[in-house]
Each structure stands twice: as C-alpha cells, then as structure tokens.
Subunit: 304 residues, 3 copies
Amino acid sequence: MRPKHVVESQQFTVPLLLQLFERSAQMEKLVARGGTLDYQDRIMATLFYEPSTRTRFSFESAMYRLGGKVLSTEQARVFSSEVEGEQLEDTIRIISGFADVIVLRHNEAGGARRAAQVSSVPIINAGDGKGGQHPTQALLDLYTIHRERRSLDGLSIAIVGDLDQGRTVRSLAYLLSKFERVKIFFVSPPEVRMKQDILQHLDEHEVWYAIESDIAKVLGEVDVVYQTRIRPERVSDRKSIASYGITAKVLHAMRPNAMVLHPLPRTVEIDKAVDDDPRALYFKQAKNGLFVRMALLTLVLEEE
Amino acid sequence: MRPKHVVESQQFTVPLLLQLFERSAQMEKLVARGGTLDYQDRIMATLFYEPSTRTRFSFESAMYRLGGKVLSTEQARVFSSEVEGEQLEDTIRIISGFADVIVLRHNEAGGARRAAQVSSVPIINAGDGKGGQHPTQALLDLYTIHRERRSLDGLSIAIVGDLDQGRTVRSLAYLLSKFERVKIFFVSPPEVRMKQDILQHLDEHEVWYAIESDIAKVLGEVDVVYQTRIRPERVSDRKSIASYGITAKVLHAMRPNAMVLHPLPRTVEIDKAVDDDPRALYFKQAKNGLFVRMALLTLVLEEE
Amino acid sequence: MRPKHVVESQQFTVPLLLQLFERSAQMEKLVARGGTLDYQDRIMATLFYEPSTRTRFSFESAMYRLGGKVLSTEQARVFSSEVEGEQLEDTIRIISGFADVIVLRHNEAGGARRAAQVSSVPIINAGDGKGGQHPTQALLDLYTIHRERRSLDGLSIAIVGDLDQGRTVRSLAYLLSKFERVKIFFVSPPEVRMKQDILQHLDEHEVWYAIESDIAKVLGEVDVVYQTRIRPERVSDRKSIASYGITAKVLHAMRPNAMVLHPLPRTVEIDKAVDDDPRALYFKQAKNGLFVRMALLTLVLEEE
C-alpha cells in the first residue's frame, strides 16, 4: 500500500489515509518525548523553484526529527533560468543520484508528475503551479480535522476564499470526496468560484456541495471553516472582501466545537483577535504539518 | 539567570556576562580538541531577512559544533515580500513549531523584540534594522577584550566610524556601561556622531566618554581601537575619511599591548599591512564569535 | 602525496589520480551498501558566488555520505555585493574559522587560488570564472572514462562545443595531457575554437591533437565523445550548430563500445532519443561526481 511518489491527493485511498494519520499521531508522540528514528544515513533534497520558507522548513524539520540529512535550495529557479531550455527531467535524474527522496516545489502545474516519471527516488510534491496541487497541505488539513473529530465521515465544511486558483483547496476537495456524507460549502466572490473540474469530480463521487457568496448563511451549520486568502485584484467589488473575513462576530455565529483552519500565510482575512479563541486551530494545523510530513517520509522511504 | 531570549545587549548583567565568557572559553577548548556535545536532537533555525553569510555561518557552525541540526534561510525576505501584509509574528509562531531555537536577522529595528513576544522557543537577535541592535556581535567583541585583558574594568577604548547608524557600536556601548571605570572615546566625522540616546544612557550610568574627531589624539591612551566602516556618502568632507583609517603609522602611535578590533567586513578603513601585527585581532575576534554563540545556544537551550 | 588544496587540474599527478580513482571506487561501494564514515565532527562550507544547484548538491551529498555536516550558501554574491570593496580574502579568512574545508565557486578566474593563499583550511575549487577551471568536474569526467576502460593511456576522444570559454574542457585537456598516447579531436565552430594556451600546453607535452569542425569525420575513431553546449549567440552560422549535436544517426556512426559524456546541463546538443542507448553515460557521469568528491574530501581532510 506504500506509495512510491506523492504527486496528487487523489492517489490516497481511505485506508492509506487512515494509516498515515495513525503514523502521524505516533510521530507527534515521538517528537513530544524528544525522540528520533534511525534515518541518519538518509538524505532528503528540497528542490524549490519558488521560495516557501514555511513549507520547506516543515519538511526539513521532519527529516531532521527522523534523524536524517537535508540538501536544500531556496530558489532553484534563479539557477535554472540561466540555462535556457534546461529540462526539469534532467535535473531530477541528476539529483536523484545525490538524495534518497526529493521534495519538489515547482512553478508549473504538472511539474511533480513529470519529475516522478524519471526519478529513481521518491518525489514528494510540495506544490506545483497555480492551478496544480499541494497534496501534503491537504493531508495535514485533513489530519488536523481527523485529530479533533476522530472521523471525517459526516463532516460539514465551508471552504472560503479565491477558490479557482487555490491549489490547496483543490487538493482538499479531492480528499474530502473519499469520505461518507461530507457536505462542502464553497464560499467566494462570484469571479473566483471553484472551477468546474472539481465540481464535476464531486458530482461523480456523489458529494453534496453548495456554491455560496454569503459566509453568514453557513456559519451555524459547519464543523470547519477553511479560510484562505482573497486577492483584491481578482475581485471587482473590493468592498465585499471584508465580508468573507473571520472576526469575533463571525466566531460568535459558529458552533462552539467548530474549528477555523487556514493554510497560512494570512493577510487580513482572519482578525488577530480570533487567535486566542480555542476554535482557532491554524497554528496547530501548521505544526501538524511536521508530523504528517514525518509520517509521509517514513512511508516513501520504507524498504521494500 | 538563564535568559529566555537574547534580544538586546542591555539584558545581560555583569554576572551573566562573566558566566557567558567562562562558558565561551570552555567551548573554545572543546572545539580545539575536536569534541562535540549531545545536541543531536536539537534544531536551530536561522531566519535571515537580510543576507549575512558570515553571521549565519558563525551561528550554524556553532550549532553543528554542539552536535545539533540547522534549518537555514539566506533571504527570507524574497519570500515574504510576495505576500503583502504578511506578519513576522505569524511566521515566528509557525517556525517555532519546527525548531528549538530561532536566530533572527530582521530588517526593521524592534523585529527581534516582536518575535520574542510570540515565540514558544528562544529567539536570538542576529541584528535588527539599521538603528537596532546586534547583541551577539557586542558579546563577542567584549569576550575578545576580556580574553586578552582578563577584565573589563578600567578599560579605555576608542570607537571609530559612522557611529549614528552602527547597531554594533550601539550594542557595545550598552554593554561597556555595566563595567567600572570605563573610558570611551567616540571618534567620528561630525555628521555621523554617536546618537544622543546612547550618550544619555552613559550619563545616567556615570560612564566617562568624550566626542572626538581626531583619532591621533587618543591613540596613545587606549587599550582598544574599535574600528568600523565610514560610508563616504554620509560625510561631507570625503577627503577627511582617510584620517580615520588604521595604517602602519597609526599602529606605531598605539600602545604595544593595545588591540585593533573590527566587526568586519572592512573596506579601506584598515590597511592590509596592519593584518600581520600581533595587535590586529579582528580575525581572531570573528573566530571568537563561534565560541560565544555556542555558549549562548547552550544557555538558551538548557532544560529548565 | 595528499593535496592541501584542490585549485586546478594540473596539480594532480598520474599516481595521485590513480589513488583518487581507487578511493572513488571504494566510496561507490560504501554508498551502495548504505554505509557511512566517521566524519560527524567535520564541517564543510559551500561558498558559491554563482548558483549551481547540481554541483553544490553533489558536494553536499558527498559530505553527508561521509557522515559530516554542511554550511551552505546558494548565492554569496548577493551578500557581498552589498559591501563595495569587500575582499574575498577576508571572507575566506573568517569562514575558515567556522569550517574544516571550503568548497568555493567564484565568479572570477583565479578566485580559488587567491582563497587558497589565505585559508587555514583546505579550499576546493568548484569552478572559478568563465576562463578559469572546474577541476573536480574534470576529475569525475576522467574517473568515468577510467571506470569503463580501466586505463586512460591510448584514449581517443572528441571534445565538442564552445571550447574557448569552457572551463570544464580546459581542465579536462590539462588532465588528459598527463597520460600516454592520448589523441584529442577539438571539434567546434571556427569562432569558438580551443584557445592557444591549451594547445601550447599539449604541444609542450607532446600530446596528439587535431582541430576539426566536422564531427562526422571523427565519430568512427574515438572512444569518447565529450559533448558540451554551443551558445548560438557566439557563432555566426547558427544553422551549423545542429550539425554538432548528438542524435540517433550520430550514435550509429560511433563505435559500439564508445561513450557519450556531457558535463550537463544540456540544452539541444544531445537528443533525448539518445538517453536510452547504453553508450549514453552522462547521467552515470553526474552520479560519479558524488564518489569522486567523497574521495577528494577524504584526501584533503586526512589528518597529517
């Protein structure tokens, strides 16, 4: 059941997800007691064509907590742009000679899949392109919900933001479609609605969803508000953007045991006053990324 | 007495400084015999919003010599500038989930203090803003003097350069004010004199100081010449700049057991002919940064 | 026989080369069985004034496979350019206090030699300037040929590309001149022919060579085609460039046991259809860089 590569969220079956969450919980206990594993002879390369300090540090910390070593690049594109016509495939073939696993953030959708086709070591997609995927983010999102609720079946969730270009929310929607009786509210300004391909996928898997533009309507009904950024330049009615934000007033309308998640970084869409509410789980969610990535690394690096 | 964070030089009391110097000397012996400590499960993150290869390598080498691991970023700003309105506080909250200590170089004065307010792990200020502080530089400066003289009481020092914007010399002045019978000569072109806030601090602590613009007048009287850069664009009489430099002739006027220090990098303000003089201690001073930073890391990472 | 620094390929004698190849083969076996050596207290710094992810990762992976630690910089120039007049020599003096070996990629020819003159730890040249050297590339090229042929004496090789500015091919030519009965065909457009200094060096060492502009003429005669890039802007007859490329047709004219090498990255000068031919050894060559760099690191870090 072990995956060779982690390219897109669809590849995870429910049993594999549950195994991953179980292992992530073990990693959380390992880190809490200051322990480590015996990966001291394993090398992970983080090959980032776009900088993302947080995602990179999350993976690198995961490898270090396992005892392993890290080859790191903040901005591989600066280099590759120097040689016009250079191919990602060649770079991957070469780097797979130097590392035991490659974590790739690529600037084009499909980059991770192309890398996986030629790599002799596991590829983990850490985000590819604007319309691509970011499966490990979706896995840590789901782990955070699963950790609090003990189950994903029957989940009711509002996904808020510029949904059409959000690779995070796209990956999340694919994963949610695998569970039973899930209800998804896609809440966004009309110009940046979730794209048709995802809605069609949900239709095919008979997942209930609704398209909303008023967050207030759904707050009382959901277990999770999954908040993301809305870029003002992408919306015609800029004044309306504030109405999608999470404030103390919005919190008040939420269920007492609901949770607010956000892939971070945030700008103005979650008020700082919300941070101290026990339902504000976004920093815990970021920390959970460490455990999920440790678990993923152990899965792909497992000996045959 | 253990500090939680290292934000500004003022926070160090004389007993804590002496403890730090004692521990730095132990680290020097440890490195000399090729030994290490048992920090293999501890992770340090260097979060640099401005690049500084030397300061970063000094901290990273310190963590490695202790046996620990390093998350590294050369230029965190490239990343953060992409997301307008992103907050340092959020970044620190997230990264403190991935590392056991964060070494922060920030581009704004006060950055380290803001980070310390929200971090769940120790913050070490590796320089913040032009008018801010660089306390670990001041600590290694002081350690270098203490190591040679065995005491800081009664020290006579000339601090030379653009003093108004030098965070290094500001941090150093705060530390010197804690010792007995110290004499400070601030030597600079008139446009870039030491700022009033530092002079007032010295007055309050009854430290003797003088404002000079002729280095020749003080050379015979001081134990230390602490040299820094003068940027020509900040001075009206550019021809005068050469008169602040250290040359063989200047050395000749210094006491035989005096020392020349410089936080480096230098440009023209210390002639290369000076490098071979036994009083030229600036490369030794840079190396001492390793031992002081090892000592600081052990202090902030000590178990409660 | 141990070298203190690795600055240029000429410094390697034939016995030292053979010792290096023997040790590289041992490293290959070590990595194959997942073993490591006891370098856990040794630190290597990669100081790159020009980014080169592949070369940097190759060295860093080598140090990790030996068990050691790595201080890394992707783009030291961003930093150093901020301080006009800053000297490489000062940077090296400081960093040699933090690391046990420095791998330097510098933007000026002669940078590595300047660094070696002041460093208290070994310097390894990872490329310096356009007309400079890249000796470790030449060493891995030669190791790859030696590994396949068991000997370099009597080798017949075509070196193809913009030869006048290629530091890789310059370093390689110096090394080849040390062996017996070597035949070198320099194949390039007339504007970018191998420079006179190298040809003169070959004359002095009585090495047979020929200047060619038609690759087809030599294909049947050589053991190795060493292919490099031709930049179109450097050649007047741009249409002719394709004639220097390696295609299935070119392969057909080569000997059955010949090899195609390339320092990589390639653009269009080797067709992807060639990759699956057993004579296409360029990815294996890149991987061999790991073993050669491990061997070099053990040589320069060996205790007196």
